[in-house]
């Protein structure tokens, strides 16, 4: 294991100067360690048996604390979370994001209004940029707009900065909203065509509540789409290897590159605690969505999600019935 680190370290160093890494990696904003006052998590039904505690990675913490700690993690790794995504995805999360956006095919030909897209946990606007590019270049739709929402104002600040000089900003096709995904009261019922969340939902305290909010804000016929790491690879051997990589090497690398072992440890563990593809598809259905792919009896839930790269990550979709 130890021998991996110098190599990974070298790779990271190299990648910081080579061209294929996106701008996020060069971000240099102050790591915030300030304990932010969090709004208490949305009240209501939730699935945890013990209402007082939730998991922060494998550490059990009280729910009020979790939102705060999650925000902290993302403040503390904000500047290097892209590195984290690189490590967890073996460097291919950008390809997954491209595929995610292409498969959704946002934008609408010959339509006057365009689509309203809500990108939750949109952090730095990575997905939003791709959405707008696809809508404009592929579907020749210059109306479609994206509302980027994140619980963390610093993340959102990065997105603002990134869009500041873009034509999308000038055309009023992008806006930002600081909000907890579990409480989107700032957004009207049935007002959104497409709700996306990439590498975000595993951090939510009440995932089912977030799904219900997604259902509420979507128009009939609107689409929920999620790109997320999975807790288990399909192939047991590959899974064992990948687990050694993620639990063994990544927190160590986090210590080296960000001097922040705990945050990386949390990120790795939050993936482990995320529901399996089957379970998560079940949760989406429970929120009222139609699962794609002709969920007939003989085909089971096949088609309800798409595994990416040996199932390291998966795309889930749901359509709100009209």
């Amino acid at each position: 294991m130890a021998s991996i680190i110098p190599r990974a370290w070298k790779r990271l160093r190299l990648s910081k100067t080579s061209g294929w890494v996106c701008n996020d990696c060069r971000r240099t904003f102050a790591t915030s360690r300030v304990q932010r006052q969090q709004q208490p998590p949305a009240s209501g039904q939730h699935e945890s048996q013990d209402p007082k505690s939730t998991h922060f990675g494998f550490q059990t913490v009280t729910e009020e604390l979790k939102a705060g700690r999650v925000a902290n993690v993302f403040s503390s790794v904000a500047s290097s979370y892209d590195t984290m995504n690189d490590l967890m995805s073996l460097g291919i999360h950008r390809l997954w994001k491209d595929h995610f956006v292409r498969s959704l095919n946002p934008g609408s030909r010959n339509s006057v209004e365009g689509q309203k897209i809500l990108d939750i946990a949109g952090g730095t606007g990575d997905i939003a940029f791709r959405m707008l590019d696809h809508a404009s270049n592929i579907n020749h739709d210059n109306q479609t707009s994206v509302l980027v929402s994140d619980i963390n104002p610093e993340m959102l600040g990065e997105g603002r900065k990134r869009f500041a000089t873009s034509p999308y900003k000038a055309a009023g096709r992008v806006a930002f909203l600081e909000a907890n995904a579990e409480d989107l009261s700032a957004i009207n019922d049935s007002s959104i065509d497409l709700y996306t969340v990439a590498f975000g939902i595993r951090n939510f305290t009440y995932k089912q509540k977030a799904l219900e909010e997604a259902y509420r804000v979507l128009k009939p016929g609107g689409v929920f789409a999620c790109l997320e790491f999975t807790p288990q690879l399909r192939n047991p051997v590959m899974n064992a290897i990948y687990k050694r990589w993620s639990f063994g090497a990544i927190p160590l690398i986090g210590q080296v590159v960000a001097a922040d072992r705990d945050s990386y440890q949390y990120l790795v563990e939050s993936i482990e605690r995320f529901p399996s593809q089957e379970e998560f598809a079940g949760m989406i259905r429970k929120a009222g969505f139609l699962l794609p792919g002709h969920g007939g009896e003989e085909e089971g839930m096949q088609g309800a999600w798409e595994d990416l790269t040996m199932g390291i990550a998966a795309i889930h979709k749901g359509v709100k019935p009209a």
Binding site: S103, G293, H294
Partner: protein, 251 residues
């Protein structure tokens, strides 16, 4: 036909067809007559895909037809994410609904019509559905979609389900060893004839009828799996090449 011969046929068949010939799954999961068969499509899927199919004569088997279908059914453009396989889902919808509708298209008044004759009229009746729904001029596009690697398993599954349905409606209820061969032979005959139909210029598709007769005769005489499948593969390739050329690809 003896089992060894059937096995040899399988081994000599084009690789893409072997899974079909080998398919040992239970005999037709659901025949159209069964009341407890689950509905093939959920309501929203039915609504969108049937509207999309109505767009096919003008827009072909395309994403555009799917999107227009969604709009017609009161859904949004983005709702087509319900169909991960895109326009292939319209093809499959046509295959499934026409297979399930076949029993209502044909009546055999007397018991004297032989199984062979019944199979013939069932195949022709099924092919007529391609004409009546107006999809025939676009069918080469459907064949091209069906022959994409990711769609081959579903296409073959649907083809053997149709074969089962035809044998069943023709009154063949044998469950002996010849059954797998029969299923495969008829599937191959049907596929070849359907490809032929897309190029048929004769009035009332007379040539398609004659083509079908020759294929059925082959099956009777030499256990035509090999002959027909090779021809089918040939026609399939030809159809795809023609389509690509019509789209400006140089092959």
């Amino acid at each position: 036909m003896s089992t060894p011969l059937a096995l040899r046929s399988i081994l000599r068949a084009p690789a893409a067809l072997r899974p079909l010939l080998l398919q040992q799954s239970s005999r037709a999961l659901y025949h159209s007559y069964e009341h407890d068969a689950p509905p093939a499509y959920r309501d929203p899927e039915n609504a969108i895909l049937s509207s999309a199919l109505a767009q096919v004569p003008t827009h072909g088997f395309t994403q555009e037809a799917l999107t227009l279908g969604a709009r017609d059914a009161g859904y949004l453009d983005i709702s087509t994410n319900l169909f991960p396989k895109g326009p292939f889902e319209i093809v499959k919808y046509h295959l499934v609904t026409q297979r399930l509708g076949l029993k209502d298209r044909v009546q055999f008044p007397d018991d004297k019509t032989g199984v062979g004759k019944r199979v013939r009229s069932l195949v022709l009746e099924r092919l007529r559905a391609n004409v009546e729904t107006g999809v025939l001029p676009q069918w080469q596009q459907a064949l091209a979609l069906m022959s994409l690697a990711e769609n081959i398993p579903a296409s073959l599954r649907e083809l053997s389900a149709l074969s089962d349905e035809i044998w069943f409606l023709a009154g063949d209820v044998s469950v002996d060893g010849s059954w797998y061969t029969k299923r495969a032979s008829l599937a191959a005959v049907y596929a070849a004839t359907e490809v032929y139909q897309t190029t048929d210029q004769s009035t009332e598709f007379r040539d398609t009828g004659l083509f079908l007769d020759r294929r059925l005769e082959e099956v009777r005489t030499v256990g035509g799996v090999v002959g027909s499948t090779i021809q089918w593969a040939g026609f399939q390739a030809g159809a795809v090449v023609n389509l690509m050329r019509s789209k400006g690809v140089k092959i």
